[in-house]
Structure formats: structure tokens, C-alpha cells
Symmetry: C2
Subunit: 389 residues, 2 copies
């Protein structure tokens, strides 16, 4: 299943070569997967130069699917992807979630996920589970949000509110997994992924797996010290990356009004005119304060990333999420600091990569991580389905 | 073998519980290992409260052994450890290796390793391989030192000069592995290990394995930026940790003469009066410049480590190598910065650990990594021995 997820127009013979099993064994397995509706045949395919033509196989466009949901500070979203990672249904609603009671947020989110799930089922898909992306710290049980300061949440049992087969995951982690699985990078398995909305979220992918650290807190790039005597950070330390490149600090430095904060409610319809959009607009028209703030944030990000690269030696640094929209103004500083500070190894400018997934990376990563369980263990899914039938 | 390496007075029944095999299977395997001389029996042992007493097993004090060797700037050393990690033979020679021709260094080292190897063989041990610790960057083949600035080496084929079954490894990596295997820590499998002689060497252990990064350069804590506008570093960047806490910077700040540098030759017999020893002495008698320099180096180390902890979320930070000798003066600053900057997770003062291995950590790690191959795959060793016989 993984070979077929990664490649196009692969035949039984091609799979056999990749996984190191005999052609006969692979054929037996493929037949089971075809019967279970996990694979489709796609017509004759001539592999290389010799041998009989094989039949190209592909992951099924129907069959199991994954539901993803996203709780943002100013929006909610849900989508369904099929096994190929293609988005099949999508729904989004602007929302002012900062300090909004969690039950209200979760009820609205449940409505969105129910809507896309029903739509997917009508299209012949079978949603196997839901993954919810949250801007906060998730408990080991993958059900509870321990802390999401930008939502004002503490100890909220999120998964239970969305029904069975639901897990919660930190949005930065899902953004990184989306790059790994769906980012269109060739053989990129070790990277630092950085994204930002209100805080700076980063996640580490090592040998094709999320690196969570001993207690699940790895990837806190936002609190890496940039200038130890710098401004006071919300975390209590001074000079953290967030005090230079977090959204709030960036907007303040640029003289751009921040979006609705605690107490005030942002205009629901104002999604496109949020702080980051206003900042981008200001940068586009050459506003000096905006350009200076972005240049300084880029340098700070580059300094923190240099430390991360020196420690971790990743193949690449991937910039994604809303940050990617500000790339033209942020990245020169990032590049300059990386070039100046990653000196002891080969670091090439092309090792800094901008995500091609756009704003939907996290949401697609959430949905795909739900269906990924079937790719990882198709037999388990088949036996569940058989037991039900 | 690993269960017996980790525990004391373990019986066949105890091993069966640990590895999840039946007692009968374990008994068969144990008998093979006893015949091969890899294990010894140690008399009756009553496990817990019920059941017949079992016979305690232990790794053999004879049988396979590992040779370790160390190339320092001012000394050479070699030792042999048995499978239990106990040092059985040891030899050391002061040497002024900075910019000394590599063939002369390697010839002298070969003499030392030959001496300890012969001694070990006379004691009934069978050395299975040699690991050489170097203060530099090692090639992927584990045979060549690509660059060791403090020795003045570039592209030196080190392993070939010491004969068959020899590999080279970076000293910081071996120091970290020594902590993992021999450090006496309970269940410590995820940590940042930091040591310093001339440069700052760090290594990461993740899930009980050395974390090398995508290209083998991981762990460069010495070039993590501490103060981006700080002093120029030998690497070309500014404000790296090494410019505050590297030996050269530290000695200069403390007003203590550095040991023989390029051109001048340090007195061979002067090992105990080297720069670090003089610095320790100055700190001990309360010299204000030395105390200030150590306080600032400790703070810089703490700032860099805070970034590493925020990124990697290790169980602990272990300070080893010559740095451990300066712990009383360095660690307060390290502790203070960690407490102030690792805010988003649980960080306890006891998560900063000083190595108990002393100066020999790297050397013992080298030797033990040689014999560790037998613990990892005893069957391969047995078949090699059988083929020879």
C-alpha cells in the first residue's frame, strides 16, 4: 500500500521489486486488496524495456477515507481525503474562537465534520476516523487538549465531543506530516517544519516519522532564545523567537492592528483582512515599518533555525502555514542567517524550502493521518469491515 | 545478552520474562552462550518469593573484549574492556598532537593498542575490534577523519593505520554512548550529552541510539548562536556557543595561559598543568577573572542548551568530559538559564546531570562500542569463532 501511495503506475512486478517479496506473493496480496476495494487496476503498463506488460495498480478513489478538522483562532474547517490524499469534500466557517466556550466551538465543528462525512459517504467513500488539528498542547491519550492559550482552553476533552475514532493532534505536527506525505518533495524524510499563525509552531520529522521527544514537547522553536536579553516573552523568558517573529510581535513592530483579541470579537466575515493579510498588503505596497519588521523577523527566524540545523542536521527546512504567504519578505533574512551560521557542514540555499500546500496543509495532514492508518495496516481494516458485514 | 548486560543476578526465568520467550527456549539459548564462553553461571539465586531457585547468569569476564583508543590534542590512550564494560588493561601517553604529522601519531597509538591488546589476550580475553575516538569529523565509512582542526588533520585514513576491524568515531558521540551504556543512569535513553576539551562537543541520544542527523553532522551545539552579535567564531559566524564556552575563549576570558598552540610544543609531562587544570586551580582559589569567565560560559552554555531542550525535549542533559571537572562553577549558570528558558514543559533541576564517568568516559565508550557488536549479535561472533577453529 505504501509503495502504491508513493509511486504512480506501479505494477505487481514493480511492487515485488520494491518490497523484496516474490511476484507470486505480491499477486496474492494484491488480489486480496482488490477484493477489499483498497486497490484499483488501471490498464496495461509496460515496465522498462523487458518482460510482459503488467497492469498498473493504484490506490482506490473510493473505499476508506479520512476526515480532518481544524480549530483555528478565527476559523473552523473540515475535509475528507481519500487514500490517495485527494480532498473530496471540504467545509469551512469563519469563527471567533478566542475565549469562546469550548462546547460551542466543538458543537459547530461536529456539525462541519458531520456534513463532510455525509457528503463523502454519498460519494462511495467510507470515512475511517477523524483527526482534529488544534493550536495547542495535546495529551498523551490524543483525546484531550491540555493547553491552547490562543483559544483560552485548558484540559478540554476534544475527541470525546466528536464521537468515536477521533483523535486530536497539534497543528504544527500535522503540518509537518502533511509535508512528509503530501508535500510533493522527493525523498524528504528528515526536516524541520516551521509554521506560524499566532505563535511559531515547528515540528521535526526524522526518518519519516514525527519526532516527539521524550515527553511529547519537541519542536518548540518559538521559545528558542534568539537574543537572550531581548523582549519579555509570554512564556516568561526573554528574547525567544516568538518575541520577534510571532504574529503578535510582528504586527506590533509593523504598526498593523492585530485581529480581535480577548474580550473583543473579531468580525466573522473579516477573514481576509486579518492582521497577517493587512501585513502582507502593507509589505506589498512597500510600507517601511512593515518591511523592517519582516526583515527583523526573518533574521530572528534564521538565527533560531541555524541553531536547529546545527543540532539536528536535517535534509531541509520547510516553511509552511501562513508564514509561507510572507515568504518574499521573510525568507531573505532566513537565508542570510542560515548561510552565515550553518558553517560546519554543507548547507545549500535550496535546502530551505517553501511549502506548496498553502493554507490547507494542516487540514489535509489531519485528514490524511486518519486514512493513513489503513495504509499502514490494511489487514486490520479488512478484518474490521468483514466482521461488520 | 542485553538483558544480562543491564541487570544483575538474572536467572534463565528472569531472562524469559524480560524477552517474552518460553523458559525452554531461553534455556537452549543460554546453553549455547555458555558453551561459547559468552556467559558464566554464578550459583543459586532465589527469584522473588515463589518457584525453585534458579542459577544466576552473568556476562563472561573472559571471552570477547573491545579495544578503545583515544587521540587527544595532548595525549593518547588505549584500553580494553570486557563484555561487562569493566576496564581490564589501560595505557596512556602524554603527547603534543597539535599539528604533529598523522603517521607519527598513529604509529604511537598503534603501539599503545598493541600493548593493551597483548595484555588482554594474556588475561584470557579475545579482543574483537578497535574503536578510535577522535576530536573531529568522521567520514561515513567510519575509517577516515575528514577534518580535525585541533589536530590540524584533513582526510586522514585513521582506521587503516591500526589494522583490521578498526573503526573511527567522533569523541563526543562516544562520550554520549558511554553515558548510555556505562553511565549508571536508570532508564535514560533520550538525552543531550555535552562535553568540551578544545571545542564544545555534543551528541544526542534518542530512544537509546545515537542521533546522527541526515548527513551525520547532528549535535553541533558549539555553533548554536548564543548572542547573534557576539564575537567572531573560528567557524566564520558570530556569537556561537564556542566563542563563550569553548576552552580557548574561556581561558582567554579568565586570563589563564592556553596550552601549547600551533608552533610551540607543550611540555609533554605538563598534562596536569594544562589550561583547564590551571583554570580549575584559579577558580578554586577564588580568582575573580576565572570565576567571572566560568559564570559567563555557564550562562552561554545554559542558553544554548535551553534551545536544544525546547527543540528536542530530552529526558535529561548530561554534562561530561573535562567540563564535568568545572561543574561547580559552570553549572549554576546552566541551571539558571534552563530554569528561566525552558518554560513550556516540566523541567526539573535534576534533569541536568553530571557524568560519573570522569575523563575516561570517551575511552571506555570507544572500547565498549567494539565489544557491543557481540552483545548485539552473539550468533555472528560464535559462527566466526567456530569457522576459525
Amino acid at each position: 500500500m505504501r509503495v502504491l501511495a508513493a509511486g504512480e503506475k506501479v505494477t505487481r512486478a514493480g511492487v515485488a521489486v520494491e518490497v523484496g517479496l516474490t511476484r507470486a506473493t505480491v499477486s496474492t496480496l494484491v488480489d486480496e486488496l482488490l477484493v477489499a476495494g483498497l486497490l484499483e487496476e488501471r490498464g496495461a503498463q509496460r515496465p522498462g524495456t523487458v518482460g510482459r506488460p503488467g497492469t498498473a495498480l493504484a490506490l482506490s478513489a473510493t473505499g476508506p477515507a479520512g476526515v480532518g478538522a481544524e480549530i483555528g483562532v478565527d476559523h473552523l474547517a473540515a475535509c475528507v481525503v481519500d487514500m490517495r490524499g485527494v480532498v473530496r469534500c471540504r467545509a469551512e466557517a469563519p469563527a471567533a474562537n478566542r475565549n469562546r466556550p469550548a462546547p460551542a466551538v466543538l458543537a459547530e465543528l461536529a456539525e462541519l465534520t458531520a456534513r463532510v462525512t455525509a457528503e463523502a459517504e454519498q460519494a462511495g467513500l467510507r470515512p475511517v476516523g477523524t483527526t482534529i488539528a488544534v493550536p495547542g498542547l495535546v495529551g498523551r491519550d490524543r483525546g484531550t487538549v491540555l493547553r491552547a492559550p490562543n483559544l483560552g482552553w485548558e484540559d478540554v476533552p476534544v475527541a470525546a465531543a466528536l464521537g468515536e475514532r477521533t483523535v486530536v493532534e497539534n497543528e504544527a505536527n500535522l503540518g509537518a506530516l502533511a509535508e512528509l506525505w503530501l508535500g510533493g518533495h522527493d525523498k524528504l524524510a528528515d526536516f524541520v517544519h516551521v509554521s506560524a499563525e499566532i505563535g511559531i509552531g515547528a515540528a521535526l520529522v526524522v526518518e519519516g516519522r514525527l519526532f516527539r521527544g521524550a515527553r511529547g514537547f519537541a519542536g518548540e522553536l518559538g521559545h528558542v532564545p534568539v537574543r537572550p536579553d531581548g523582549p519579555l516573552c509570554s512564556c516568561g523568558a526573554t528574547g525567544c523567537l516568538e518575541t520577534y517573529a510571532g504574529e503578535e510581535a510582528l504586527l506590533r513592530a509593523a504598526g498593523v492592528a492585530a485581529p480581535g483579541n480577548s474580550g473583543e470579537q473579531a468580525d466573522h466575515a473579516d477573514h481576509g483582512n486579518s492582521g497577517p493579510a493587512a501585513l502582507r498588503e502593507a509589505a506589498r505596497r512597500g510600507d517601511p515599518a512593515a518591511l523592517l519588521a519582516l526583515a527583523e523577523a526573518g533574521a530572528a527566524l534564521g538565527i533560531a533555525l541555524s541553531g536547529a540545523v546545527n543540532l539536528l542536521d536535517p535534509q531541509a527546512v520547510v516553511v509552511g502555514g501562513p508564514l509561507a504567504d510572507l515568504a518574499p519578505w521573510l525568507l531573505p533574512g532566513v537565508r542570510r542567517e542560515l548561510a552565515a551560521r550553518v558553517t560546519d557542514r554543507q548547507w545549500r540555499p535550496e535546502d530551505l524550502v517553501t511549502s506548496r500546500l498553502g493554507r490547507d496543509g494542516v487540514l489535509r495532514g489531519a485528514a490524511y493521518s486518519s486514512v493513513r492508518t489503513v495504509l499502514d495496516d490494511p489487514a486490520a481494516w479488512i478484518s474490521t469491515v468483514t466482521a461488520k458485514a
